[in-house]
Amino acid sequence: MDYTLMVGGEAGQGIQTIGGTLAKVFSREGYHVLTHQDYESRVRGGHNFYRVRISEEPVASPRQGVDILIALDRESMARHSGELNAGAAVIYDADALQVRYEGEAFLDIPLERIAVERGGSRVMSNVAAIGAALGALGLAQRPLPEVLEWALHGKGRDVVEGNVRVAEEGYRHGSKACAKCGFEPGRPGEAKMLIAGNDAVGLGALASGCRFYAAYPMTPSTGIMNYLAARSGDYGIVVEQAEDEIAAINMVLGASYAGVRSMTGTSGGGFSLMVEGLSLAAMTETPVVIVLAQRPGPATGFPTRTEQGELLFASHAAHGEFPRVVFAPGDPRQAFLLTCKAFDLAERYQVPCIIMTDQYLADSEWTYGEFEFDCVSYADHRLRGDPLSEAAGYKRYAFTSGGVSPLAVPGASRHLVVADSDEHDEEGHIVEDALTRTRMVEKRLLLKSPALKEAIAPPLRYGSENPEVVIAGWGSTYGCMREAVDRLSPDTDIAMLHFSEICPFPDTGRYGFMEALENARFTICVENNASGQFRRLVRAETGYEFGAGLNRCDGRPFTVDDVLGGLHDLIR
């Protein structure tokens, strides 16, 4: 079984409710799920859709084609009926859309009537649609009540019961209308967790002991603020909406200086405003984690869409020279793990760590058996408590062999902690002399860099051991590349190199990944941007030139089918 459901309609029609609830039902039933959202920069109207792919096998990428389309308006029909797979079904309410579609695929289900009759309110027609889709698919309706309770949490027993009645009736209709559809629901498994990229970053922050988050709202990063704000009381996190992104990063640096783990998140425009603060983090050696959730630029661009257009910017951002860490997770699990690693490295080496996501990853949900919390180690790298009080003397920027100076918590002892944005001496006071400058550059940049590089894992290799074709990429193209390898293997001798730890660049001396590229006949770099930024980065780091690039810059994510099509054209 490998089906794609799509919910289409205007903003404000409840597309997210339908898509999100369906995804939850499937994951609870133990299916593998992948969702992804396409929405416009408006609050009502326009055209949005939500895709849910389900399978008994792990899924990692959206696919082209739709098996069940829930069309909440005519526009959805106009735009998406061309995408229907053979045997697809379309759920719609002819009365509501005031039009009737001909053809076997089109199942007219009186969603609004069901809602009014069984639930007493037209708004519940979304729940009827959920039921109808499950009925059409022939999936068990068992988990529906509990999922509805989850979705409506806090809304009271009556509301939930009304919704359950509506869903059940929708199910009956869907099941009947689709009696001959031929969907084969597959075997349910153990309940899985369902998590989106933004939430995974938030969870990683929780797991790392993040205590302070300041940010300014900006799509697609806002979900992280929402996640943490909702949990701020329970987990003891101060979440502050700053007046602008400049304030956000400076607040975060203040909190970090004061002794707590701190993070901010934004998108490209906000990140642009933050880069002066990034440079300050570097100079003061204040740990900070910054999430850069990319969207298509330049400027305001496509605020609700996806792109990988800021790799080179993030890698070189801000004035002056300093080391940094740049991660680009490929899926929510990586987002979680790399967030934890970012907090650790930021504090251990007192450098800024940037986590790059994008709208596609931020908003799309994946299923997992579980997250390995235990593989995440936690260590407090700060100097506080007795070791601090008892220290014989303290200098914030003391020279050490590895360039890392003790990071004391101010106010926790009589020692004074002086952080300075100017070039400074070991104590943190302004200097003008050439010698101290040279030693400080050595300390901050030259000594720390090798240790940071040491901490960077090699790219993920997946596929053939001795591949003829290598596809490489970074960040959110992980899933579509992985599935492309699955589909082409073993007919094609293909492997993937996925880079999620990008800066410092993984050590080519220590890891053998460059050989795979050098020995392959075709090497293709897959990027969700126009200019091939990773290709350029690899050239800058290694001198290696990819054979070709597969690029997309229309604001939409790659599907596995796009990748397969692209490879087909390139490999000949």
Partner: protein, 283 residues
């Protein structure tokens, strides 16, 4: 007892005669007078002559970017509100580059003390107009004289309902030290705008110019009356009032935020055992 000399740090790089010396002296007087010790303080500053302050006084310090002291101070306070957090800044730093943070820090009412060394000029960058420069002042960057209205930080603070609004004068050490003490004692955000002669670049607002005009209006009006305070804040000319202009106790951010109302964030232990619940939400 902590003494004046205990607070001394590096030799100041200010010009001889600069008003900043008076501010430094008054500040140390106030701190020693209150028995405050250097490690209990964090002084946050931006960039400028004023902003070099924390290098010349013993304290915990974060000398950050031009214009960005207030958000750093806010972050520090929110992470550890046992610390006394003071911002030392210049008129360009605070009202120019940092203007937006000035507005919103007052709205937040975080318990940070904002001491602005207001020399009505950009000192460190050699004499351009600042927001508080008087109209008509000619500089290299303003050859036709300043064309913008002089910025009035006190009026703006009162408009924003800031809980402590005062003006001091660098040439009156004892009076200024008294203002510092009152600001420190106020529960909430406090602004002290300090008239500070820049002997090198500001040839208009000199010691003499200020001395002829400053007027200690303490007791002359009701500090708690916003309308009276507003009126007072508009005075600038023959008489320039110094002292506390407006005072109002408002709940602080630290008091309002339930996450930290009991204990500072930095003292709250990280409880990893709660994470299971966080994970469970995703099933």
């Amino acid at each position: 007892m902590i003494s004046f000399d205990d607070y001394k740090d590096q030799e100041p790089a200010w010009c001889p005669g600069c008003g900043n010396f008076g501010i430094r002296n008054a500040f140390i007087d106030a701190m020693t007078g209150m028995g405050m010790e250097p490690h209990q303080l964090v002084i946050v500053s931006g960039i400028g002559q004023a902003a070099k302050f924390p290098h010349y006084v013993k304290c915990n310090a974060f000398n950050g970017l031009h214009g960005r002291a207030l958000p750093v101070a806010t972050g520090i306070r929110l992470a550890n509100h046992r610390m006394h957090v003071i911002v030392m800044t210049g008129d360009g730093d605070c009202y120019g580059e940092g203007g937006n943070h000035f507005v919103h820090a007052m709205r937040r009412n975080v318990n940070v003390k904002l001491f602005v060394h207001d020399n009505q000029i950009y000192g460190l960058t050699k004499g351009q107009a600042s927001p508080t420069s008087m109209e008509g002042m000619v500089t290299k960057a303003q050859p036709f004289g300043v064309m913008s209205e002089q910025f009035n930080p006190l009026a703006m603070a009162i408009a924003l309902d800031c809980g402590f609004v005062a003006r001091g004068f660098a040439g009156d050490r004892a009076h200024l030290a008294g203002l510092f003490v009152r600001a420190m004692e106020h529960e909430g955000f406090a602004l002290v705008d300090i008239l500070q002669p820049c002997v090198t670049f500001n040839k208009v607002n000199t010691y003499e110019w200020y001395r002829e005009r400053v007027w200690k209006m303490d007791g002359e009006h009701d500090e708690g009356d916003r309308m009276e305070a507003f009126k007072m804040s508009l005075l600038w000319g023959e008489r320039i009032p110094i002292g506390v202009i407006f005072r109002k106790r408002r709940p602080t951010y630290e008091e309002r935020n339930p996450v930290i109302s009991r204990a500072p964030l930095v003292e709250q232990a990280f409880d990893r055992s709660k994470l299971a619940a966080a994970l469970a939400e995703f099933y």
